[in-house]
């Protein structure tokens, strides 16, 4: 055994390394907080309490988590085909448009149980359609998907702005928003669902969409690892030439994958439009599509990892808001810095500490081996 064992066991790779990375991110964040003259320990306490400490906080955390699960899964599915979908933001925006239009169309006529499945379909179709064009250009024209999906985010923003300012704006309103849907098109909030069973929890934007996020996670796991299509996607991701040689129609797989990715991202629209705001409004995606990239990266493109990473980012968003609320000197820019550091350490520098850990681990196992030999 001349070369040391380079592979690490799974629990270090997907358990310990992310934990160390988060700890490093918080260490640096703590240093920055200390620099501006605040107590880092106190800040961490406020953040954790603000994210998990009481039911309203937990509700907000899980509400953000729902968004990140959708966008994280969207990025992950595309990533398995080696496609980098940066367009989650635009796909979610347009998906929300689909949901909103359907609600505006049907809310006066049919009950929720008719609207909901149709809204999920409308959302998926709109999101998939928005991803289809960049996918087609990638598959048949060779335009790089990173560039085109970024561009489509801008086009989505421009389109939504045009529609809200000129077409969908509620009469007499100064704010570019559609009219509020009738209550038949409101997804029940979790505090309402709990109330049906007699349990009382504080109101928060958390709604039924989180269940949809759970189903989406199971679906993605099953689809990627247990179906022929998933196999084709992963094969394309590993080696396009080999995939083609083995008879996979790579162009169709690229388009199919991107449409699925777009549909997953679009469900942010279900959570935001049907679940929380009950009207179409500007900027409801608020960067969730971009954060989805970090979530997917941290979650190693696996649904379980994505759920955990989404929870972390949900906690960062909600805990961060709480921190800005409690300590006036900590501004929103500071919260962005902390979020940025977590992304930096867990995403970009994910493997920074890996060689060190490998060395420690191999020393450790070799010592054990010598001990056994002796």
């Amino acid at each position: 055994m001349s070369s040391p064992n380079k592979t690490l066991p799974g629990w270090i790779d997907i358990g310990l390394i992310p934990l160390i990375n988060i700890a490093l991110a918080f260490l640096v964040s703590g240093f920055v907080i200390w620099l501006i003259g605040e107590d880092p320990i106190e800040a961490v306490k406020i953040m954790i309490n603000g994210a998990f400490g009481y039911d309203e906080a937990l509700g907000y955390t899980l509400y953000y988590t729902t968004n990140f699960i959708f966008t994280g899964l969207a990025v992950a599915v595309a990533f398995h085909a080696s496609l980098f979908n940066i367009g989650g933001e635009g796909q979610a925006y347009i998906g929300g448009l689909g949901v909103g239009l359907l609600c505006l169309l049907l809310d006066q006529y049919v009950p929720l149980w008719v609207i909901l499945p149709l809204a999920i379909i409308a959302s998926g179709l709109f999101g998939a359609a928005w991803a289809y064009v960049p996918a087609y250009l990638q598959a048949y024209r060779g335009s790089h998907i990173v560039i085109t999906t970024i561009m489509f985010n801008f086009i989505a923003a421009a389109l939504m702005n045009y529609l809200l300012v000129n077409v969908l704006i509620a009469r007499g309103s100064g704010s570019p928003e559609s009219r509020v849907f009738e209550e038949t098109a409101w997804l029940p909030f979790m505090h309402e669902i709990f109330a049906w069973f007699g349990a009382e929890i504080t109101r928060s934007p958390l709604n039924l969409s989180i269940v949809l996020a759970g189903f989406a996670s199971i679906f993605v796991w099953f689809f990627i690892w247990h179906t022929r299509w998933g196999y084709a996607i992963r094969m394309l991701g590993h080696n396009e030439n080999a995939a083609q040689y083995s008879g996979i129609d790579t162009k169709r797989v690229i388009i199919g994958t991107m449409c699925l990715s777009g549909a997953l991202a679009s469900f942010v629209g279900i959570n935001e439009i049907m679940g929380v705001h009950h009207r179409i409004l500007l900027e409801f995606t608020a960067g969730y599509g971009f954060t989805g990239i970090a979530v997917s990266l941290m979650g190693r493109n696996h649904p379980v990892g994505i759920i955990i990473a989404s929870l972390l980012f949900g906690a960062l968003y909600q805990g961060g808001a709480e921190l800005a609320f409690e300590i006036p000197t900590i501004q929103k820019e500071m919260i962005t810095t902390i979020q940025g550091l977590v992304i930096l350490f867990c995403g970009a520098l994910a493997f920074m500490i890996r060689p060190t850990l490998e060395r420690i681990f191999s020393n450790f196992t070799q010592e054990n081996k010598t001990a056994v030999v002796e």
């Binding site: 801008f154 702005n161 045009y162 100064g174 935001e272 929380v276 705001h277 608020a286 800005a324």
Partner: protein, 333 residues
Amino acid sequence: MKKLFQTAAASFIAMAAATSYADEIKPAVVFDMGGKFDKSFNEGVYNGVEKFKSETGIEYKEFEVTNPSQREQAIRKMAQRGSNPIIGVGFAQEAAIAKVAQEYPDIHFTIIDAVVDLPNVQSVVFKEHEGSFLVGVLAAMASETNTVGFIGGMDIPLIQKFACGYAQGAKYVKGDASVLSNMTGTTPSAWNDPGKGSELAKSQFDRGADVIFAAAGGTGIGVYQAAKDAGKLAIGVDSNQNHLQPGTMLTSMTKQVDVAAYNTFKTAMEGTWKPGILSLGLAENGVDWALDDNNKSLITDAMTAKVKEAREEIVAGKISVHDYMEDNSCPSL
């Protein structure tokens, strides 16, 4: 000795209590997504509440929202902590204020730039079209090419309202004046894109404009710079921006957002805060045009006289300036 200490301590506590009773208000402000340093609307509110703080020594609670769901969350949280009054900045907070104000009927809310019809809400709106009309008059009179330009920030009805008032003012003095209008963008980044502001200004100059009114937040800085470089004129917005490029700033259309925010806290402290709609136009000095040392060489006596006349006629109701937001259309553009 011990007793003396106790009395001293007791009287000290009583004194502290007395002062805290006098300043019993716990004001709060929730800024919108632009953030409190957006060089525009939110910053106006920030300046107003900061002025209140430095004058009275009363601290205020604040929050800057970063996504739409936080509006309601932040306002409710302020209400839960017993803040009163609470200022919501911007039309986007309309729905959130309406919801929370119903839940907390004893707390006073002020929303700026939108109307919420509830017994515990004060709605402050500005007649930007009237102020824009006046600077439109000035622009058309200063123009030699008979072409004036408008550069807006994000394409929303509020900014169309500026554009529409401006166009009406220009056409009021010169019926055949042409008005060029461009919006910087469709996302909030349009409020802070001086590079694009400068490009749009250059293109409007190329198309014959020689005075440009920018209602675009931080983007305006680029417009003013481009006007200076080209030797043309520009008009500032929201606060008096004449000092930014002395000599090429024709004037500024001021909107007293800071005064509105300051007055909210001040009247709450004095117990004279009232619910209802405060519609601040020329008559209320809520909007105006700025004249100071930096631009007085550019303003002729004829212009002063004409703008004074227009102002009086608007206040008297002889000229009615069309408000874009009434029907989302502008006959003059």
